[in-house]
Amino acid sequence: MIKLHNVSKTYSPDTVALQDIDIHIRPGEFVFLIGQSGAGKSTLVKLLTSQERVTNGRIVIGEWDITTLKQREIPNLRRQIGVVHQDFKLLEKKTVYENVAFALEVCGASGKKITQDVPQVLKIVGLDEKQDRYPTQLSGGEQQRVAIARALIHRPKVLLADEPTGDLDTITAKSIVELLKRINDIGTTVVFVTHNREIVNTLRKRVITLQNGVVIADKEDGKYFI
């Protein structure tokens, strides 16, 4: 599903964010990407969403080599990968419904499809009752659910969750993890970037550990050991 071949990212001649990364994530997998701050986790997410370009190497998502992606093709890529961010990245002036609908509107979906799909996905994340609220009227956990709903609206094959529980309390974080696990159960590949030891150790999924821009461990049924 996602293949990284000798991927390196250098910001200035002396700042190496990632070095010779080789990762292969299979379809339907649930993978934790862990590491301390500055390990290169966020850089990797930025490379996968084309917010940054690789310095060396190749990234393939599905059959799509995104290393050579043209600028005008980037929106297409982003519509096919669901991304959830730590700070939710919701449009504050739009309601819950509109935030999710916006992801469909950008790709020219019909009004019929929007009115059909948005309520469905809001039901999945448990926010169908709060669709007319604005993000500021929701709790952190609810805001993250909106972000997940928006990421799911295109029925993506891959969901990138970049520290989705970073700003949430333990109980809310657990409910978000549960939701992501359910999404994975229906076949979506989930890449979960985190440094939350408890979550990683409870789920016992594949764990890829980054340190100083290098993969130092990649284990099935792994644990948080740094």
Binding site: Q51, R78, K89, L91, K93, F102, G108
Partner: protein, 306 residues
């Protein structure tokens, strides 16, 4: 295609409504800038009208000797009418001149002058020709023409030189005024463009996070830009509507003092704005949209690099 256009309009209206304070600040800044533009247009119109009034009051009078025959004078008038630069020629006979003189002093109720006129046996006034040129520049040409025609034997008074000096002065004054006005126009245009440019940039700056998020969920640059451009055009449209609502009451207030200034020959400012309604406000709207589009594209461009 239709639903895409409808969405662009929907987003533009939503943005304006949901950022109502920012929208109000933007529109009010535009209105302030446009007020300055319209005051300038008013000033320019008044100035032009003033120069025109003075120009119309300038005329050249040729006084003829007592011995000059009316046929000869009429021949001079006829000849002058053939000069292309001459707008009109008025012949004032000796009798007409006396009649005017009497009327003038009767109105002033000056018994001394009235009595003196009654004492005279003969009409002491000369016949004259009043020449009005099409423009101030034409007077020296007409003067030259008169001098070239050898009318010295019948023309008595030569106050022509004094008049030409006045004409020269007026011409210099008008040229200077035009130069100053042009400088002021350029200065104000730059100032107003900068105000609007920066207002739009601040508006976009305050929404940079929103633009970044839109990019991350897969919006194309044009999908983000178009509603923002449209929003700018709506701001321009609202500002023009507001300025029209402001300008006409202001004009009706300044109309009376202006009429007084013009000594009765009232310059109709409301009429002027009505006659030039589409050119005045149309160009302002076009200019506003132009500045808005340029400043929006510069401001948005920076935040689209996500």
């Amino acid at each position: 295609m239709i639903h895409k256009i409808a969405r662009i309009f929907k987003f533009a209206f939503q943005n304006i409504g949901r950022n109502i304070w920012l929208s109000m600040v933007t529109v009010s800044m535009m209105v302030v800038a446009l007020l300055a533009v319209n005051f300038f247009i008013l000033g320019n119109a008044v100035l032009t009208s003033l120069v025109q009034t003075v120009e119309e009051k300038v005329s050249m009078t040729l006084y003829f000797k007592q011995t000059a025959q009316s046929d000869d004078i009429l021949a001079v008038a006829e000849k002058l009418r053939t000069v292309p630069q001459v707008k009109d020629v008025e012949y004032v006979s000796k009798d007409a001149a006396l009649e005017r003189f009497k009327k003038k002093y009767a109105a002033e109720q000056n018994p001394l002058i009235e009595d003196s006129v009654r004492e005279l046996d003969v009409n002491p006034l000369s016949a004259s020709i009043v020449v009005r040129a099409r423009s101030l520049d034409a007077y020296p040409v007409i003067l030259e023409f008169i001098q070239s025609q050898q009318y010295d034997s019948i023309i008595e008074k030569k106050n022509i030189n004094d008049r030409s000096r006045l004409i020269e002065k007026l011409k210099t004054m008008k040229t200077n005024l035009v130069a100053v006005a042009l400088g002021v126009i350029i200065f104000f245009s730059l100032l107003i463009s900068l105000i609007i440019f920066n207002t739009i940039r601040i508006t976009i700056y305050s929404r940079r996070r929103e633009i970044g998020i839109m990019k991350l969920v897969g919006a194309t640059n044009s999908f983000i830009r178009t509603p923002l451009f449209l929003e700018g055009i709506f701001y321009g449209l609202f500002s023009i509507i507001l300025i029209i609502l402001f300008v006409f009451p202001i004009l009706s207030i300044v109309q009376t003092p202006l009429a007084r200034f013009f000594d009765g020959s009232a310059f109709d400012v409301i009429g002027y704005f009505n006659d030039h309604f589409f050119s005045i406000f149309g160009y302002q709207l076009l200019g506003l949209c132009g500045i808005t589009l340029v400043s929006s594209s510069i401001a948005i461009g920076r935040y689209l690099k996500v």
